[in-house]
């Protein structure tokens, strides 16, 4: 039975028990003499009865769906080893070939042995599917009947229903935790496999990065070195340039908009900042690679400098512009949280506006601004598309902004796009880099959020 049909039937039974339960309680209420004791609407009894059959059935279905594929795979492999078929290729590939045969022509094209396996696979698949349907339907029907029999006027139906809903709401809120756990486990698991092959110290402190592994032993330049220092330095360099652009410009924009700008300037500038914030990073990347980088190269050459066509400067500059709205809105928040009395006190003592801002507002808002800068740094470090399109690919240990450098995110993308076999150190390295990226940004975020929160509390 198809899964959609199964779900439809389960829903049908749930709807059926909803109506039956409501009917049962409505009749019971009619027979009940003292109507003032009625506290719960009949529909709540219906809801409870329906959920009683629906929720367990769906949970069991979900569970069975998850274990179905591993089960079938293990059954097939036992069959293959039991019947002495020489699966002289990778088992996964073998199974894929058999599962991929979905038309009669494709089945006919399989070898005789494989057709045997195919038959067996088909049988197993059908029995599993049938078992799943039977189990789920049985649970759904039995629970529906049980619920209908159990439910009566004295059931605290509304309370039960509301508890269930609250549980579902809590579950939704916990998805954030599950996501974090998922991220941590997925990068940690693959990273430990990577560190089994490459020692962690040579990864963290090695200065040579060339992830290409040799296919033939006599190939040149394919020694597979996984020293990540050039990537860290490249990331730092580009992020530093980006912060150098975005922090002063963002902070000054925020100050100008909140302290000086007339209404008409503000009505132009605010939407512009919002648009800048909303432009996808791939667009910035395209602009950086095709317009800014050649421009900087031309400018440098006219001054007699040699500039790489994928210079760190171009990527950093454009990334800086991208972060301006982020810095400006964060600074705007913290500046407006400074109490008006401080401002008025300073102005009242005869300070000019700029003196008030530089000597009173900024020192008072400093923790918040620092927090904002840290968040901006975390954005810059994790930014991917701009650097993938505008920064280089080759690892180059330099702090010269006119040369091409590569970053952690660029390497993750290049290692994981295209053909990959999942067990090579090359793809696992991407997860180790991902782990570094996650840890760094996590630390920055936690510190920044903590600082900002402490700062807010100070003036509340």
């Amino acid at each position: 039975m198809k899964i959609s049909a199964l779900i439809f039937l389960v829903l049908l039974f749930a709807a059926f028990s909803y109506f039956m339960a409501r009917q049962k309680i409505t009749t019971a209420y009619r027979q009940h003499k003292s109507k003032h004791k009625i506290l719960t609407l009949p529909k709540y009894f219906g809801y409870v009865a329906a959920l009683c059959s629906l929720l367990p059935a769906l949970l069991v279905l979900l569970f069975l769906q998850i274990v179905e594929e591993p089960y079938i795979n293990s059954e097939i492999s036992t069959f293959i080893s039991a019947s002495n078929i020489e699966a002289n290729q990778d088992l996964d590939l073998y199974l894929n070939e058999i599962k991929g045969a979905d038309t009669p022509e494709k089945v006919a094209a399989l070898s005789e042995e494989k057709q045997m396996v195919y038959q067996r696979y088909h049988e197993i698949e059908q029995t599993t599917a049938r078992t799943i349907s039977v189990v789920v339907l049985a649970i759904s029907i039995l629970l529906a009947i049980w619920g209908l029999r159990k439910i009566n006027i004295n059931t605290p139906a509304r309370k039960v229903f509301e508890k269930i809903i609250e549980g579902i709401l809590l579950l939704a809120a916990s998805i954030a935790i599950m996501t974090t756990v998922g991220i941590v486990f997925s990068v940690l698991f693959e990273s430990t496999r990577f560190f089994g092959e490459v020692p962690i110290l040579s990864f963290m402190f090695g200065t040579e990065w060339s992830p290409q592994t040799a296919i033939r032993a006599d190939q040149v330049g394919s020694s597979a070195a996984f020293g990540a220092v050039p990537l860290f330095v490249g990331t730092m360099l580009i992020s530093f340039i980006a912060l150098l652009v975005s922090v002063p410009l963002g902070l000054m924009s925020a100050i100008y908009l909140s302290e000086y700008a007339s209404r008409s300037i503000r009505s132009v500038a605010k939407p512009v900042l919002e648009i800048l914030a909303g432009i996808p990073t791939v667009v910035y990347g395209f602009f950086a690679a095709l317009t800014v980088a050649p421009f900087i190269r031309g400018l440098g050459e006219s001054m007699g400098l040699s500039v790489a066509s994928e210079s760190a400067l171009a990527a950093g500059l454009v990334m800086g512009i991208m972060i301006i709205p982020f810095v400006s809105s964060l600074s705007d928040d913290v500046l407006s949280a400074v109490p008006q009395s401080l401002r008025e006190g300073s102005l009242g003592l005869g300070a000019t506006r700029s003196e008030t801002i530089v000597k009173v507002l900024i020192p008072a808002a400093l923790p918040g601004i620092v927090g904002g800068v840290l968040l901006a740094a975390s954005r810059a470090i994790g930014e991917t598309m701009i650097v993938v399109m505008a920064a280089g690919l080759a690892a180059n240990l330099t702090v010269n902004p006119l040369e091409a450098v590569t970053t952690v995110t660029v390497q993750i993308v290049t290692l994981l796009t295209g053909d990959q076999e999942f067990d090579s150190a090359k793809t696992l390295a991407a997860f180790a880099l991902g782990l570094m990226l996650f840890i760094t940004t996590l630390i920055l975020n936690v510190i920044a959020l903590h600082v900002v929160r402490k700062y807010r509390e100070q003036y509340e």
């Binding site: 579902i168 954030a176 500038a269 667009v283 470090i381 940004t441």
Partner: protein
């Protein structure tokens, strides 16, 4: 000299500093505006040629014996006839002095690779054309289009020019005969990706984005609203809830590429879901946009005045009824605005989708959420990487379409906010 004089003396300097400071502020905001203007004009300027399509008008002789079919042939036969030859002969007819093999090959490359399919479809639609001579507009190759649109400079010396003198001569003859014309490029919106710039379109990418966003919306909206309701209305004050809140705030700042790693390790490798499918992309993007929508929904719920809740509770509604019957409807405009902004963010997101294999070259237009497909930003990324000059304008045009959708979504969000926002 007394203090007043000292102050007066310093005043001029202080006012100058004040003016400098103010100008610095203005310059920084002006820089941002200037940058946006440069970016937009640059992209629009590059994109405009992509919206016109260059055609070559050719007289083709659809003789029945040469094609080996007639109006009564089966559709399969009509489909498999050799149309390329017909077009080649039409070109040779125009330039009969071309005889060398190499030159012929150059001549044949005036029309696009897609021209024969264009002719085939025309014949299938109008079988009565068989046996007649028809004048048909054929799609020109992107080199021809480059010359006509001025992307390839005719005055360059031959060695630096992509199109050689002979070919340029043919093109100029065709132009002089009025056989080259340009029309609006509908194909850009109605076809999928292609290796040939003149045939490439973004319909596949738009539909891929649509399916991906559909999955994202279906997952993230209910979950985010439920989470926001719980955290604002039901959550007790304890460590676990604090932990959830820290997690949400932190997830909002985790780099998007890390979500891609999660998608690759968990959904593709562990649950063996299909690569390149919008359903996986949608799940990953919904995990990514959840924090945004949760935070927006929470502030919308928080903005509903307590008096509303107290009134409902006072009339005997339960907590759950209060929330679902009164608080949630009042907070819905704010929640919807937050959701649309989250969706706009998801529409522009590229990096996590690269990780789960949506970066493949896919010609077919996706029909459902499990078909392999790509999305608009990734189409931009793919085309930006292509060396052909014709793809440069396509990339910019795709960016324009992407920005159009983003602006439309944000405009809807602003409209909703203006229309339904209540000041309590």
């Amino acid at each position: 000299m007394n203090n007043t004089d000292l102050v007066k003396k310093s005043l001029q300097k202080r006012y100058l500093k004040e003016r400098i400071f103010k100008t610095m502020g203005f310059v920084s905001i002006a820089t941002a505006i200037l940058f946006l203007l440069i970016l937009l004009t640059d992209i629009i300027g590059k994109a405009l040629p992509a919206f016109s399509q260059t055609n070559i008008e050719l007289q083709v002789e659809l003789s029945e014996e040469q094609l080996g079919i007639n109006a009564n042939s089966s559709e399969d036969d009509i489909r498999n006839a050799d149309y390329r030859k017909v077009i080649r002969e039409a070109l040779l007819g125009l330039f009969p002095d071309v005889t060398k093999r190499k030159e012929k090959r150059e001549l044949y490359s005036l029309t696009s690779m897609g021209a024969e399919f264009q002719l085939r479809d025309t014949v299938i639609e109008n079988p009565e054309f068989l046996g007649t001579t028809q004048t048909i507009n054929f799609l020109a190759d992107d080199d021809v289009a480059g010359v006509v649109k001025g992307n390839i400079d005719r005055n360059l010396p031959e060695s630096d020019r992509r199109v050689k003198n002979q070919k340029l001569g043919w093109i100029e003859t065709l132009e002089a005969n009025g056989q080259i014309n340009t029309t609006f490029n509908w194909q850009f919106f109605s076809s999928g990706d292609s290796r040939e710039p003149e045939m490439a379109g973004i319909k596949g990418a738009i539909l891929g984005s649509f399916f991906t966003l559909l999955v994202t919306l279906a997952l993230s909206f209910p979950i985010a609203v439920a989470a926001a309701i719980y955290l604002e209305e039901f959550a007790p004050k304890n460590r676990f809830i604090d932990f959830i809140e820290i997690n949400i705030n932190n997830l909002a700042a985790v780099p998007s590429i890390v979500f891609g790693l999660l998608g690759l390790a968990v959904f593709i490798n562990f649950f063996s879901m299909p690569r390149s499918a919008p359903v996986v992309g949608g799940i990953v993007l919904s995990l990514m946009t959840l924090p945004t929508i949760i935070i927006a929904s929470r502030s919308a719920i928080k903005a509903v005045p307590p008096s509303l809740r107290e009134a409902a509770l006072g009339l005997g509604a339960s907590k759950m009824q209060t929330v679902f019957h009164h608080v949630l409807p009042a907070a819905l405009p704010g929640i919807l605005t937050g959701t649309i902004i989250g969706m706009a963010q998801a529409l522009g997101e590229t990096a996590p989708l690269l990780m789960i294999g949506m970066v493949a070259f896919i010609v077919d237009i996706p029909q459902s959420v499990v078909d392999p497909s790509t999305v608009l930003p990734i189409q931009v990324f793919l085309w930006a990487d292509s060396p052909e000059r014709g793809f440069l304008e396509k990339t910019s045009a795709a960016i324009m379409v992407l920005l159009f959708f983003l602006i439309a979504m944000n405009a809807i969000a602003i409209y909703l906010r203006k229309k339904f926002e209540k000041k309590w």
